[in-house]
């Protein structure tokens, strides 16, 4: 085996090991179905919404489908509190200026499969905001606005981080293309 071949093989093996040691971080997202998608009445400062739900899996983030009627809100916060079955609550203060209209935003919170949770949302921006709802039949979900039961539920999204070794496929594609080049070149050298 000549020196060049050894060098090529060593580089490729080293790259392969690096790809294995530093895999790509990706995520899976699950969202409630958008059945008769609508919005809850706009939230003013005194209003409070509470969403009860049961997590159908283990997740790292929970997402809310938010809207602000086309207003670019530069000040104020959305307060979110998530309470688990044991009554332990974690509170979040989300800067409204970091939220996109008609988009989901996520907060980091570990959810466990089969456990009940209660999310409370308050609007402290001074501007009108709302959240999208769905009429998907969700057995254990209930939505309250200022204590009144609503006929639909907030559209929630759940995100889970995962490691992906997809980079390996792309590494192998790169390797295949390089081997193609070597295959076409080598015969010329041999001649």
């Amino acid at each position: 085996m000549n020196k060049n071949r050894i060098l090529f093989i060593s580089i490729f093996v080293a790259l392969f090991i690096i790809v294995l040691l530093f895999p790509y971080k990706t995520e899976t997202v699950k969202t409630y179905k958008h059945i008769n998608k609508s919005t809850i009445d706009k939230l003013e400062k005194e209003d409070n919404i509470e969403q009860l739900f049961v997590s159908d899996g283990n997740y790292d983030y929970i997402g809310f489908f938010y809207a602000n009627y086309g207003n670019l809100i530069k000040k104020g916060h959305i307060f979110i509190s998530i309470e688990n079955e044991r009554g332990k609550a974690k509170e979040y203060k989300i800067k409204a200026k970091s939220l996109f209209d008609n988009s989901s935003f996520y907060i980091k919170y570990k959810l466990k499969k089969g456990k009940k949770y209660k999310v409370s949302i308050n609007n402290n921006t001074g501007k009108d905001v709302t959240f999208y709802t769905t009429e998907e039949k969700l057995k254990n979900n209930k939505l309250y606005r200022n204590g009144e039961l609503q006929p639909n539920n907030l559209i929630l999204s759940f995100k889970k981080n995962k490691t992906s070794y997809k980079t390996i496929w792309y590494y192998m594609m790169f390797l295949t293309i390089v081997l193609m080049i070597i295959t076409l070149k080598e015969e010329k050298v041999k001649k």
Partner: protein, 617 residues
């Protein structure tokens, strides 16, 4: 010689500019020539408004003003306003036949001026404001001359292009790739200038723009307020907002101003797709980043981003024309179709995919019809298909065409076999990138298609393949022609205009394409029935993959229709299809004429003219 050439080009540009300027002034402003503007129009009646500090403030949703116009001509009605929300309002007046005309508008909280077109002589005008707490002042009639600079530049460029192609026609007739290069750049840039500068013009361009800005798919990213407003699209995609060019200009100025300040904030969103799929946006990203580096205005940065991708598209297709042995004129024609040029001028991953696959198709035919394989062509073919397959792996079956190259075209049989094995491996690896997510149950479906669920849909296909085969066959029978040679692949500009204005040009384009295909020399040597069968099988495989992918992701579970399939997905395959149907043996490939270029440039110019007059918003 060079000095004469330069003098001619400069002289042409000056003359074209002067003519365009005069045309814009005299023809498009003819209604306002000699007419005066009127400031502070008299208000003869109002309702539910308070007057404070030289301004009117609406106190209910039924507020209105009646303006005394005294049969003045109104080109545009203007007023200043201040509002913390978007609001709707109406103009009501009586026309010549005493019929009531009602015009509905929306005004944005981002601007402070409403400028709306009327274009009539009116006695009295009623303005109804359907919102409380809007501060209004300075009603005026604007009859000033408005120069639509983008149109002037476009007319200048197109006239100069035609003059230069005519003057140097002997050169361009023999160098069709160079003729394409300048034509594509001029006409594509014209689309960039005349279509709205932001997004929501083309299919999912707001998603592509977001991918360009956040090309590395960072989970937390700090968008500027201008980028946020652009992506959110409120008002931008609604025809009632910014319905005049003057208002659009006001919006652009506002966005330019707020883009300079980037507040300290970050958006957490989905990680998005694998970053290898993002590579296709590289030309846009380079243009956008260079512009930001030089602190160019926001709108200018967007134009430059689009221009960089147009250049990439043009270079690829020019090279395809240069190196193709067969079908140069066909590539030229496909490249200058209004549909493909429009896509090349907007945020989209289609243009470079189209250009790459067309280039690869031309190289494949070259390799088939040569005695010995050109290794550079072979590797270029592989790289082009991989490049196009990174964002859309459904095109990877094109690689399998290489299996039909005869082994004796390689240096020896061993090399040929080894290479073909690597082709199969590469195709499998690309296929796995979209098959694995489906097989692992992580297909979620696109909610825009309704009650979609990719995993459930896949289970249905696997449990009842005959049902899916019938769905596919039915879809193919109904839509095969439309998706390849239908109206949308020739004359469709997505959301920028009411496409019925340009649909009449479809007949011409279909005939013209047929003319070009059936007067171009067909590949002869070695382009036999087996190769043609291979091409047909590859086209069918890609068709099946596209239909299946959209059935999984965009179609409600169990539907007998396939939703979401768009004809632009098949534009890359057009050249291969045309190679299969070409019939002429004896005509020289190099025969082009100035008329051939002129006709196509005039047709695209016609489309551009319609765009400049009928643009939505």
């Amino acid at each position: 010689m060079k000095k004469n050439r330069l003098f001619f080009i400069v002289f042409t540009i000056i003359v074209s500019f002067s003519l365009s300027f005069l045309f814009e002034l005299v023809v498009f402003n003819r209604n306002v020539i000699g007419k005066k503007s009127l400031d502070n129009v008299k208000i003869i009646n109002n309702n539910d408004v308070d007057y404070k500090n030289d301004r009117y403030i609406t106190t209910s949703k039924q507020a209105y003003f009646v303006l005394d116009i005294q049969n003045h001509y109104i080109n545009n009605i203007k007023f200043d306003y201040n509002s913390n929300k978007n609001f709707s309002w109406k103009i009501v007046y009586l026309n010549e036949s005493e019929d009531e005309v009602i015009m509905n508008f929306d005004s944005s909280l981002y601007l402070n001026k409403a400028i709306k077109k009327i274009g009539k002589n009116v006695d009295q005008l009623k303005i109804e404001i359907n919102s409380k707490n809007i501060e209004i002042s300075n009603f005026s009639i604007d009859n000033s001359i408005y120069l639509y600079w983008e149109r002037i530049i476009v007319m200048t460029l197109i006239m100069s292009l035609i003059a230069i192609l005519f003057k140097y026609r002997n050169y361009f007739i023999k160098n069709i790739d160079k003729a394409f290069f300048i034509s594509s750049l001029v006409l594509g840039f014209s689309f960039i200038l005349l279509t709205p500068k932001l997004v929501y013009n083309s299919f999912d361009d707001q998603i592509h723009f977001k991918n360009v800005i956040n090309i590395f798919q960072k989970e937390e990213y700090n968008y500027s307020y201008a980028e946020q407003i652009t992506l959110e699209g409120i008002g931008v995609r609604d025809t009632n907002f910014y319905s005049t060019r003057q208002e659009k200009r006001e919006l652009y100025n506002y966005l330019n101003k707020i883009h300079e300040k980037k507040d300290n904030r970050s958006f957490i969103s989905n990680k998005g797709s694998n970053y290898y799929k993002q590579l296709i946006y590289t030309p846009y990203w380079i243009g956008y980043k260079i512009s930001n580096l030089f602190n160019l205005k926001y709108i200018t940065s967007i134009i430059i981003a689009k221009l960089f991708n147009l250049i990439a598209y043009t270079i690829l297709l020019s090279l395809a024309i240069k190196y193709a042995k067969y079908g140069k004129k066909i590539i030229f024609t496909i490249g200058l179709l209004p549909r493909t040029l429009f896509l090349a001028s907007q945020f989209s991953n289609d243009p470079t995919i189209i250009a790459s696959i067309i280039f690869a198709s031309a190289l494949f035919i070259n390799m088939i019809t040569e005695e010995k394989i050109n290794k550079k062509s072979l590797l270029a073919f592989v790289l082009l298909i991989v490049w196009a397959s990174l964002p859309k792996a459904i095109y990877c079956p094109m690689l399998l065409l290489l299996l039909f190259i005869k082994n004796d075209k390689f240096d020896n049989k061993k090399q040929a076999l080894l290479f073909k094995i690597l082709v199969i491996v590469l195709t499998l690896l690309l296929t796995i990138t979209f098959v694995l997510p489906a097989a692992s149950g992580s297909l979620t479906g696109d909610s825009r298609g309704g009650n979609t669920n990719g995993t459930e849909q896949l289970k249905l296909i696997l449990s009842n393949p005959v049902f899916f085969a019938k769905v596919l066959a039915r879809y193919t029978y109904i839509n095969l022609f439309d998706n390849f040679l239908g109206i949308k692949n020739f004359v469709n500009l997505a959301y920028t205009i009411n496409n019925s204005y340009i649909y009449p040009l479809y007949g011409f384009y279909l005939l013209f394409v047929c003319y070009v295909v059936f007067t171009s020399k067909k590949p002869d040597y070695n382009f036999n029935k087996l190769i043609k069968l291979a091409c047909v099988l590859v086209i069918m495989a890609i068709w099946t993959l596209i239909c299946t992918a959209l059935y999984l992701s965009f179609t409600p579970v169990g539907s007998i229709e396939i939703l979401g399939v768009q004809s632009r997905y098949f534009v890359p395959l057009l050249l291969l299809v045309f190679y299969l149907i070409m019939t002429v043996n004896k005509v020289k490939e190099e025969n082009t004429t100035f008329a051939y270029y002129f006709v196509q440039i005039v047709m695209v110019s016609l489309v551009l003219g319609i765009v400049s007059l009928k643009i939505i918003g």
